[in-house]
């Protein structure tokens, strides 16, 4: 199996790409042709096998094994296939990007054809996607200063700047919410407000400076940064630990249900 994954070049690469594409089309057609009542079992079977591999690989006793390419590693008889299976899953995960693009294209093409106020935004979506894809591919296929600069403009000038802007807007909402919503209407809210103020003061240089004048060794526990550390490492950590246990047990239960095909919902019942 490992020989299948040796990087190919030239004609061999072209043949493999065409072969994989044909295989994908065939598999897709077969899945579409499968009667709806059986699709559920196909999904359950694939899920069980995929999960079983990782569960067995994790729990099976380990010893020294030789890796598929080079070097020795610790593991069991399933470990050498780990890299290839990781590659498969990476490829499957990459399909979700395609799925996202198709979904977005469907939504925005509908809006574009309908016209109205939102049509312009949909047009921007298509133009931006096209520009990023074309420039990104050109940068890889024809690396030169023009494609590199164009990519830089789109990435640094547009994408990262817009991302930072979107996130920064949250700060304005926080300020507005802190003024309008953070009210001491109950004992719990009062405790929350006091805790928030102390942690915030302990978190900033100016806040720490406010209590720096307290030199007495017994009163140094009143320094904002000391109180902040106490709240974070003791009070907060205990609460987070409890939440973590709950989440862990819940996650395990859900994972087992999905793996064993017991889960009811869109993935299984929807295909039935």
């Amino acid at each position: 199996m490992a020989s299948l994954f040796v990087p190919a070049k030239g004609g061999a690469w072209d043949i493999r790409v065409v072969g994989v594409f044909a295989l994908c089309v065939l598999l897709f057609a077969l899945l579409q042709l499968t009667p709806k009542q059986y699709r559920k079992y196909v999904i359950q079977f694939v899920t069980l096998i995929a999960g079983l591999y990782y569960a067995l690989e994790f729990f099976w006793p380990i010893s020294h094994v030789t890796g598929p390419t080079k070097g020795e590693a610790e593991g069991n008889f399933l470990t050498p296939s780990m890299e290839q299976i990781s590659d498969w899953l990476t490829i499957i995960a990459a399909f979700t990007v395609g799925l996202g693009v198709i979904n977005l294209s469907m939504v925005h093409s509908k809006r574009l054809t309908k016209g109205g106020n939102t049509a312009f935004n949909s047009l921007v979506f298509f133009l931006a996607t096209l520009a990023m894809v074309v420039v990104g591919v050109l940068k890889k296929s024809h690396p030169n200063s023009l494609t590199s600069n164009l990519y830089q403009i789109l990435f640094d000038g547009a994408l990262t700047t817009l991302d930072a802007t979107m996130f920064s807007i949250i700060a304005f909402y926080i300020v507005s919410a802190s003024y309008r919503a953070f009210r001491v209407r109950s004992t719990e809210a009062t405790i929350l407000l006091i805790t928030a103020v102390v942690v915030m003061l302990g978190q900033i240089a100016v806040g720490q400076a406010l209590t720096r004048g307290i030199h007495s060794s017994t009163l140094q526990v009143l320094h904002f940064e000391v109180v902040r550390d106490w709240i974070l490492t003791l009070a907060n950590a205990a609460a987070v630990r409890a939440i973590g246990f709950g989440l862990g047990i819940g996650g395990l239960a859900v994972a087992l249900r999905i793996w064993l095909g017991l889960e009811r919902g869109s993935y299984f019942d929807g295909q039935g």
Binding site: P68, E83, T160, V175, S176, Y179, I204, A205, T233
Partner: protein, 288 residues
């Protein structure tokens, strides 16, 4: 009085936005930017510094950055501070990212700092670039780094890079650094720190830090930078004036504004309530 309290209660949100804008921009003016207020080094920051200091020179470490431009204010400053220390300690490192923007943003940062510390890409550091599926990637990486990573972002086979000399599996990695605004640092704990006993140091945003204190307590995280404050503390230990120190006053101003607004909002609410009660009592008295 009641009118004033009512006005305070219903301040136009654009006024609040303008106040925030002023509080985050004014500290960058030369008059204010020269004011330096020191911070006390927190135990988690000190632990992180001590962990990096304990790694022998020329060791190989993984420098994981999983942030995008949205959290650059905190994670960018942390990355810069930690990279300075790593370069100062002459450690070899590979940048590893599970966020598509992080690979480019960290590359830019490393290129900027490398001149200052006599580093060169390929020789002392390399960029493994953007990867997907942390769990699967780490499981494969732990056994064989060369065949899992294959090439750096410039397309060079990593086994040909001098920075990777003697590095084949997780056992050759002496430290894990993760700068991450999400909780995916747990994959580092699950797949690398735990099974291979590689120390992990972590730098989250301030809102994510509370979740990580348990791991710090258990020793699974060897040290942690708590948001931008952590980066400010770190620059103070390193005795450098970097991005974090420059942002310190801005952080203070924004926090003080929020505290001020919270207190003002509550005072206005309480006084208005009292005034309403007094009015009601007066009306009641008049009727009697």
């Amino acid at each position: 009085m009641v009118k004033l309290l009512h006005t305070l209660q219903t301040v136009d949100r654009r006024v609040l936005y303008a106040l925030l804008l002023l509080s985050v921009t004014l500290p960058f003016m030369p008059t204010f930017s020269n004011i330096k207020v020191p911070v006390k080094i927190s135990p988690s920051t000190q632990k992180l510094y001590d962990t990096i200091e304990s790694i022998p020179e020329d060791s190989f470490i993984i420098f994981g950055t999983d942030w995008s431009a949205g959290t650059r204010g905190e994670n960018g400053a942390q990355t810069e501070a930690l990279m300075r220390h790593v370069m100062k300690k002459k450690l070899r490192f590979a940048v590893l990212c599970f966020d598509p923007q992080a690979a480019t943003l960290t590359q830019t940062m490393a290129e900027k700092l490398q001149k200052q510390y006599g580093y060169s890409e390929g020789e002392n550091w390399c960029n493994w670039g953007y990867r997907v599926q942390e769990q699967l990637f780490f499981k494969a990486l732990a056994n064989n780094i060369v065949s899992t990573v294959k090439a750096d972002t410039r397309g060079r086979a990593i086994e040909t890079l001098p920075v990777m000399r003697g590095v084949t599996s997780a056992k050759d990695v002496k430290l894990l650094v993760n700068i991450n605004p999400t909780n995916s640092y747990t994959y580092y704990i699950q797949y690398l720190q735990g099974p291979y006993h590689i120390p992990l140091v972590f730098a989250p945003t301030a809102v994510m830090a509370p979740e990580a204190f348990n791991y710090l307590d258990s020793g699974q995280i060897a040290g942690m930078l708590n948001g931008l404050t952590g980066a400010i503390e770190y620059e103070q230990i390193l005795n450098v004036v970097g991005r974090a120190t420059k942002d310190s006053n801005c952080l203070s101003a924004a926090h003080l504004l929020i505290i001020f607004l919270m207190i003002m909002g509550n005072i206005a609410m309480l006084l208005e309530k009292r005034a309403a009660k007094a009015n009601a009592a007066m009306h009641l008295g008049g009727q009697v």
